[in-house]
Structures are given as C-alpha cells and as structure tokens.
C-alpha cells in the first residue's frame, strides 16, 4: 500500500510543486477548475449519454404533460410518477461514472488535505509529539523492561525532560519547540525500536504537511500517505504531532464559508464543469 501511495504522492507532487509559491486561492482555483473540466469529460465518456439524454427528455415531456393536463388528476399523477422514475434512472446511470471518479478524486482530496488543511507548527510555538504504542510494548514499559526517549535534531528544543505516559504506557507525549521554519526529523526510541516523524515548522505550507505517521488502520493509512507506514510488527502504532492535526490552514479567501478550501474547491470545480458542459455537449 505504501508503494502505491508513495507513487501517487510523487505524481501529485509533480502537479502541485510548480504552484508551491502561488497563493492558495490561485493554486487551488486552478486545480479545481481543471478537476471540474476533467471530471466532466470523465463523466462524458464513462456514462451512457444516450440513456441519460432519453431520461432527461422523458422528464421534460412529462413536466410539459403536467402543465398541459393539470386538470386531469390521473394524467398529472402519471406524469409525476414518470418524472420520478426518470430521475431515479439518471441517478442509477450516474453511478458508474461516479465510481470511476471516486478513487482519483479521493486521492486528490487526500493530497489537497496535506496542502490546504493541515498547517505546519508556527515557529516558536510548542508542539506535542504523541507516540501511540501497542499494548504489548506498554506492558513491557510498565514493567520497566523498556523506556521511551525522544531525540530531537539541532534547532528543536525538547521542553519535557521526561515524557508523559498513559497509565498503561500505550501513549507517550513530549513537548517540543522550534524557532525557525523547517522540516525536522524527530526520532522516538521505544525499547530497542525507533521511528522518525517529520515535524513541519513554518508560517505556511509549501509542501504537504503530515500530522500523522501511522500503521493503525487502512483508512488512516489512506488518509496520511506522506510518511512511510511503520512495519506491521512494529511496537509503534502511530506518531502524531497534535498541533498539526488541530490547526487548520487559513481560509483560501477572506470570505465566510466560501473561503473554506473544500467549499471553494466544490464551487469552482462545479462552476467550470457547468461552463464547459455545453461546449463538450455533456448531458448530466
């Protein structure tokens, strides 16, 4: 899974990297516009356009029938039923293209999350490093057979001399701080194992920001593809930078609701899809 995700991340890097210095509204706007048009074309070629066209024609005809025969209850009700049936058919016909779009759009969303959702830790702000461990390791730690340790590189200050441990030692936390922007390698040692986690520090994201390095579940792995997953037999379940997962990037636009990157993406992509719909003669 890591190989696929890594390849996908590298592919998306090729797309996002040239826009790294652009303002978020511009880069996301461009991505949204292209995505809207590409998805429109994907819809065009993966859906049964003839069947959708017939269903839409049926809907129009029956709407007209309802208007013309509004005094005839039977005709109006029959027309209403046929409108509902045709709408349902369109819904069914939309499933195949939606299924086709699901995986690439999902992957795109994950990649966009790393760039427009998670914010790096601001310089000078305290961050909490959390190491989630297996219960087996926790039991060994409680018994004094293993210890936790965090090694920080130059430029990162370790603020807690000793980690805080949950009562069963399945979780350990440290507080760290870096005053200069950068991507720092933190190494958590647990017994004779160690695992590194990147600590992103900066005022804005120029590369994907990953709050979590995990092997915990399929969905978590899918959602955080930027750092290699710990081996399945590792005592580490995950390492997380809490402040990164808690802190959202600023809105892409200073406009309520629309400024949120997801809303902005949906609005811009839909707007471009609607503009290009008559040009590409797509029936939706």
């Amino acid at each position: 899974m890591w190989t696929i995700n890594n390849a996908l991340s590298s592919l998306f890097d090729l797309v996002f990297d040239p826009m790294a210095s652009w303002p978020a509204w511009l880069s996301l706007g461009l991505i949204s516009a292209v995505t809207g048009v590409v998805l429109l074309l994907a819809y065009r070629y993966t859906s049964n356009q003839d069947a959708i066209g017939r269903a839409r024609d049926d809907i129009k005809a029956n709407m007209l029938a309802m208007k013309l025969y509004k005094d005839s209850l039977m005709v109006a009700m029959g027309a209403q039923f046929r409108v509902a049936w045709s709408s349902f058919k369109i819904l069914l016909l939309s499933i195949p293209p939606l299924m086709v779009a699901l995986i690439p759009v999902g992957a795109l969303f994950v990649q966009m999350t790393g760039r427009y959702q998670f914010a790096p830790v601001p310089p000078g702000k305290t961050a909490t490093v959390q190491a989630f461990m297996t219960e087996e390791f926790g039991a060994r730690e409680v018994a004094g057979q293993a210890r936790f340790e965090l090694a920080v590189p130059e430029g990162v200050e370790l603020l807690t001399a000793r980690p805080w441990r949950k009562h069963d030692s399945t979780l350990a936390c440290w507080k760290v701080r870096a005053d200069k922007p950068g991507l720092y390698d933190l190494t958590v040692r647990a017994g004779d194992e160690s695992l590194t986690k990147l600590l992103p520090v900066g005022d804005g994201a120029s590369q994907p920001v990953s709050p979590l390095r995990t092997r915990y579940s399929f969905w978590e792995k899918l959602g955080f593809p930027w750092e290699e997953y710990p081996p399945q037999e590792s005592s580490f379940r995950a390492i997380q930078i809490r402040e990164v997962i808690e802190t959202a990037m600023p809105d892409v636009l200073p406009v309520p609701v629309l400024g949120n990157w997801i809303v902005y993406f949906l609005v811009v992509s839909m707007a471009f899809a609607l503009v290009f719909k008559p040009i590409f003669k797509v029936r939706i």
């Binding site: 909490t128 603020l159 807690t160 001399a161 000793r162 980690p163 805080w164 441990r165 949950k166 009562h167 936390c173 440290w174 507080k175 809490r242």
Partner: protein, 750 residues
C-alpha cells in the same frame, strides 16, 4: 409606465447609491480631529514617589525624556482614593457628587446592613422576568425581559462630548465602565476593564482542584476549592468537574425559610480528566467541548483506585475527549477554549469561555490544578464587553485570547488557603507564582497596546495598565518610600523577601517605561502624551474595623443580650444606633427618613458628624500609640452635584469619608459586621493599599506638555482633553484645563 430602458437607467443609480451606502456604512465615520492626536496611558496606582526615585536612579529613561519637555506632578486623587471612584472622576471630570460612585461597595438604605444590602458600586444586575418553567426547564418567551447588567455611574463621560464634535476616541481597557457605554455615532470604541466580570458574573472566581482537600474545608475567598475523584484501578488518574455558569434552560425550584418559592439555574459543568505520569512530574489534562463524558469504563467496586476523594463510578476514557494538553509541574497552559453545553444536543453551540490551567503539583497521589476564572472568549463573547460589541472580537482575532475580566491579576489566589486531608493549611499561589501570573496579564496588555498603536490614526488614544496596581497591592514594601518606620516588618515576608518582591513592582514600572518609549517612538515626541495614575500607594500593616470603633464609642448599640460579634443586621438595636459603616471608607448616619430604621433626626446631623470626626481624629492605635486617622471628610463639603448630601440622588452617599494614616486600612466589617477588636495586625499577602487619606496617596501625572497649575487633579484631565480637541468645558465639570489655565501663583505674579 416607465419604458424598460428607462427603468434600467433609473434602477442603476439607485443600486449604485445603495452600494455606496453599504460600503460607506461599513467603514469608520469621518474624523473631525483634523489629524490631532493625544495619547493617555493610564497606569493604575503608579506612585509618584516611586517613579521619581527610579527616574533619579536612571531606571526610567523614557519617563525622564517625556517630562523634560513637560513635567512630573502629584495628581490629586479622589476622596476616597479607591479605583472605581478615582477612574469615575477621570471619566466625568467631576467628583463623586456628580457621578455617584463613592466606594467599591455601596449599601441600600432600605436594607442597611442586611446581607443583601451591600452591592458592587459600579454596576448592578437587574433580575429579568421569571422564566416560564415546564418540567424543570425554562422556556424563554419573546416578551420576557432577560436579566440585565446596568452601569450605575452617573454623570456624562467626556468621550460623549468628543463624539459630538466628531473626534474619535479609542479606549483599550477602560476601568469602571462595565457594561461599556454605547457610542451613538461610532466615534468611540472601548474595551472594558475593572468591573468586567468573568462568565459566572463574579469579579473573577478561580477554581482549585485536588483530591487533597478536607471535606470540611470551606471555599477560599474569591475562588472554589473542588475535589478531584480518583479513577478506580488507575494510579494518578482523576476526574473533576469544571464549574461554569448557570444553565439558562434548566431550573431548580427551591423554597426559603419563609416558604417563598425561588428558582435557580443549575451550574453547567465540563467533566475533565487529569492523568499524572506514575513517576515523572507531568500530566495530561483532557476534556470534551462537545459534551462528551460519563461514558466508557465502569468502576471496579472492589479495589481502591488511589488516595484522596471518592471513587468515580462511570468515567470516559481520555481518548474520548478531543481536547487535551500536556502540563509539567509548575507549568502554565496557554488559553484553552472550553464550551459549556446546556444539554446533550445543544443547538445553541454552547457557552464558550477561555481558561488557563496551572499544574501546581503533579503528584500521582495528591495532584493540584489551578484554573483561572473563566473569561469570555474575545472571539465569541457571550456578553458585551466592548463598544462596539465586535471591537473585542477584532482585537482577539489579531492578538489571540486574553483576559477579558477586570482584576485579571489573581490576587485572591495569592491569599487563598484551604485545609488539606491532614488538617494542615494549604496555600495556592506563592509570591513567585503571582509574579508569573501577573506578568502573563502584563504581556497581554502590551500586545493590546501594540494593536492599539497599529490601528491609531487620530483623536484620543487611551491605554490602561492594571499591573502597577495589583502587583503593588501584593508586593509593595519599601520603608524608604515613606509611611513606615525604617525597620517595619512586612506582614508575611522576611526583610530580604520583602525587598526582593518590591523589586518586582519596580520591574513592572520599568516595563511600563519601555512601553512609554514604544509609544513615543510610534506617535512621535511632538504628539502630546499624558501618563497618569489614579492614586499612589502606601503600606498596609493594621486592619481596621470601623463598625467596631463605632460600637466602642457608643454609636452602634446592640440589642440586649447580644455579643459584639457578627452581622449588625441581626445584633444592632437600630433605634439607638447612630452610625454604621459599609465599604472601605464610608460612615453612614442612621438618618430618619433615609435609613429603614433611622434614629438620627436632621437637626442632630451636624453635631453628630462633628463629634464622630473629632473622635476619629483623636483615635490612637493601642499598639504604639500612632494616630489612625489623618482626615475625616464631610461629603457635604467635598462633593458637589446631585449625589452630594442634600441632592436628589443622595440616598447612597455616605456622610463621612474616613482618610486613614499610612498603614491603616478597613479590611474587616466592610459588609456591616463586628469583630472582637477595631485594630488587628494584617497577616495577609495583600500588604499595600491606597484607601487612606487622599493627600497621602496622590496619583502621578507626567506629560510632555507644560502644565501651568500647581495642583493638578484627576478631574482636570477630562477638560484638558476636551480643550485640546477644541471642545469647551461642560458646565458640570469641576476640573480645569491643565495646559492653558494659569496657576494661582502665576496669576498673582501677572
């Protein structure tokens, strides 16, 4: 009918006009200050003697540079020199006879010394209509009036005259102005300070959690000592309930001793979990802002979960909570957002507040956690703390959360003591902790000053600092500054410690000097700058109970068989009592026609006032024979206006104001009670004060503009500011324009 094309032509300009109105309406109103600027920095309680000495030592370079162009004066303070009174003098340019604030505490003459009589002078809460109650739930009805807090200060604040002249004014932390006065035309913006409550409506109630409190221990003054409950089977894991404000939609019905029904809103709480590491002094604190909690693990009834309080039967795992922070022993958290929920599916979004946490002790057996008073979240305030109401939000968005309450320096936590499970006294703050907490407050004020300077264009800019007052109350002690024999001992500290912590006060002064330097640099040294304080400071050695003195001298008479101890409301024979005291400096005659059980006839008033004054001035401290009282002020002589005795609004006005000598402060009997002696040693951390004779604690006035008067007074500042912006002094203001009025000496020379 208008043709289609014509209709377009008609509609278009109308739309443009509407758009212009909307856009124009969104901005600031146009200033008529003509680029004139004036900056006033209010340093509460900055003492002129201390300032002068530090300037002489070269430690206040910016003040020195400021006064080279203007000067440094003692600034006449209010009678009595209490902060709400003094700042009201500043705000109105009048004495208390005009604004009606005489003390921190006023009394209702209809209730005299009843427990419900004393109230905070600067504002009061009008209870709203009783809600419609259905199955212990309050149903808000649109025609019902909710409870409302009302500013009780009378008179007209000077910014209203500036506003009429279209001169902008900005007040960043304005004392004695809560709730904030509205701005009619948008020229005035203010953020309230002293008098602004926490979310519970109190003047700041801290919470102190530990499993180590004795069940019989009372809450400390100004705070709550609350239990932590050990979670069974997990050493060092505790839950506790953070106490919020009353739940507006839930109701509990009670009946008092007379059988009268009354309702209370139960307090909303947030369940929190503290997990202390088993052998490192560090802990995790977690909670949910979505009302989660009370689910998860069931307690094992058979085992003991740890020392301290009762066992928790039903506890959520901390992983259920979305909020968490790691704290080391002695560490302060940043501001944390906490949201109190009225019910499980609260559609209102809950009641947001902010709090800081201080992990006093990370001992798995006996942890201790302090929580600041819950403040309004500046970004989502649930009460109006600024004018306009979104002013505080703008500041909060720019600089982050900050204390919105007044009295932010938690002096109450410094004096707080409770009994632990072993029966020993346990203290909350030590001097160092108070210093750190006060510095947090000062740092916030500095950030507010930076914001203020960044957004200042023209008109008046006022910025207020409270640290100079509330740090001095707890740490001021220097016999060289006067008011003390040189060998006088601090009530609780050794001479070395007293000296060390007086240096903290000086450190605050030095930081104020740095802020002044910043202001001078930013606005330019040609811009008039006034730095001022409402009063100075003196030591506090002996606690006075004025009611006991009145009793000892025969002015308070008790019912037969009553012992001289406790509330006058129950023990006094009002038919024979001639005078009583409520508050810090006021004495009220028991006047017929004014007081509920009055006994003093109007024709007896003058003679009685003279007699009481004479005896007070002659009173001596049995311990050393020092005089206790320097001046006794008759309010009918020193106050002018509708609140002065004889005025139509004078029912709350005391008849005498007692001005003590250095070292003596009313600290007992302020709510109308008797204690065993009228003078006792002060044993509190609160070791300096200013509620004495006004001439002993003048404020500070330092400006870069020459003043022609020899005796500037707080009431002079409002007319001076108005005159500077071309506004004539209103008739009711008693102050003078400092910058153009010649002094008596100059005038006589001329």
């Amino acid at each position: 009918m208008i043709p289609r094309r014509s209709r377009c032509l008609t509609v278009f300009p109308v739309l443009l006009g509407a758009l212009a109105l909307v856009v124009g309406g969104c901005g600031e109103p146009k200033s008529k200050a003509g680029g004139k600027r004036l900056v006033v920095l209010g340093f509460d309680g900055m003492d002129p003697r201390a300032l002068q000495r530090m300037m002489d030592q070269g430690r206040m370079p910016n003040f020195k540079r400021l006064i080279e162009k203007g000067g440094l004066w003692n600034l006449g303070t209010s009678i009595p020199p209490q902060s709400p009174v003094a700042w009201s003098n500043f705000i109105t340019g009048c004495d208390p006879g005009e604004h009606g604030i005489f003390d921190f505490i006023h009394r209702d003459p209809e209730q005299q010394t009843d427990p419900t009589s004393p109230f905070f002078s600067a504002n009061k809460t009008e209870p709203g209509d009783e809600p419609c109650v259905l199955f212990e739930h309050a149903i808000p009805l649109p025609w019902q009036n909710p409870p409302e807090v009302i500013l009780t200060r009378g008179g007209t604040p000077f910014w209203e005259y500036l506003e009429a002249a279209k001169v902008p004014s900005r007040f960043y932390r304005l004392p004695a102005n809560y709730p904030p006065t509205p701005s009619r035309a948008g020229y005035m913006k203010s953020l309230s300070d002293m008098g602004t409550p926490d979310i519970t409506g109190s003047q700041g109630t801290f919470q102190w959690f530990s499993p180590d409190f004795s069940a019989s221990s009372k809450h400390p003054s100004g705070g709550m000592a609350l239990p932590m409950t050990a979670v069974r089977g997990r050493t060092g894991v505790y839950t506790f309930e953070l106490q919020g404000t009353g739940n507006p939609i839930e109701v509990e019905t009670h009946y008092d001793a007379q059988g009268t029904r009354y309702i209370e809103h139960p307090v909303m709480t947030i369940r929190m979990m503290l997990e202390v590491d088993r052998d490192a002094p560090i802990a995790r604190l977690s909670w949910s802002n979505f009302g989660l909690g009370g689910i998860g693990y069931e307690a094992d009834e058979s085992t003991d979960g740890g020392a301290g309080g009762p066992q928790q039967p039903d506890v959520a795992d901390a992983e259920e909570y979305e909020q968490e922070l790691i704290l080391q022993e002695g560490e302060w958290s940043d501001w944390q957002h906490v949201v109190f929920r009225t019910c499980n599916l609260d559609p209102s979004g809950g009641f947001p507040a902010i709090a800081r946490f201080w992990l006093k002790k990370a001992d798995p057996q006996f942890p201790e956690l302090y929580v600041t008073p819950l403040n309004f979240d500046p970004e989502k305030p649930m009460a109006t703390v600024s004018t306009p109401s979104d002013f505080v939000t703008d500041i909060g968005r720019k600089i982050g959360p900050f204390y919105t309450q007044g009295f932010a320096e938690d002096f109450k936590a410094f004096d707080a003591e409770v009994t632990d499970v072993m029966g020993d006294e346990k203290r909350l703050f030590d001097a160092e902790t108070y210093r750190i907490q006060s510095q947090i407050v000062l740092n916030e004020r500095i950030r507010i000053l930076d914001y203020a300077l960044e957004h200042y264009e023209d008109g008046l800019l006022f910025v207020y600092f409270s640290s100079t007052d509330l740090v001095a109350h707890m740490m001021w002690w220097d016999p060289e500054l006067g008011g003390l024999p040189l060998d006088a001992r601090h009530p609780t500290r050794s001479p070395e410690e007293a000296k060390k912590y007086h240096r903290v006060v000086e450190g605050i002064y030095e930081q104020c000097d740095q802020q002044l330097g910043k202001v001078m640099k930013k606005v330019g040294e040609d811009t008039p700058i006034i730095t001022m304080s409402d009063h100075g400071f003196g030591p506090f050695q002996r606690k006075v109970n004025l009611n006991r003195w009145l009793y000892d001298n025969g002015y308070i008479v008790l019912k037969p068989g009553e012992r001289p101890s406790g509330s006058l409301a129950t023990i006094a024979d009002w038919s024979k009592t001639k005078a009583y005291s409520i508050g810090l400096n006021g004495i009220y005659l028991n006047m017929v026609g004014r007081e509920r059980d009055g006994s003093v006839k109007p024709e007896e008033r003058d003679a009685l006032l003279a007699e009481v004054s004479e005896k007070l001035l002659a009173s001596r401290d049995p311990d050393g024979g020092r005089p206790v009282v320097r001046r006794v002020y008759r309010t009918d002589e020193v106050y002018h206006g509708p609140y002065a005795p004889g005025g139509k609004l004078s029912q709350h006005t005391p008849d005498l104001i007692v001005g003590y000598e250095y070292g003596y402060i009313t600290r007992q009997g302020t709510m109308g009670t008797l204690t065993s002696r009228w003078l006792t040693d002060n044993r509190n951390q609160w070791s300096a004060d200013h509620c004495i004779a006004a001439e002993l604690v003048p404020g500070t006035l330092a400006t870069n503009v020459k003043i022609h008067l020899d005796d500037p007074d707080l009431t002079d500042l409002a007319p001076t500011i108005l005159k500077y912006f071309g506004v004539d002094k209103p008739a009711q203001m008693r102050g003078r324009d400092l910058w153009t009025t010649p002094s008596a000496r100059t005038a006589s020379r001329e």
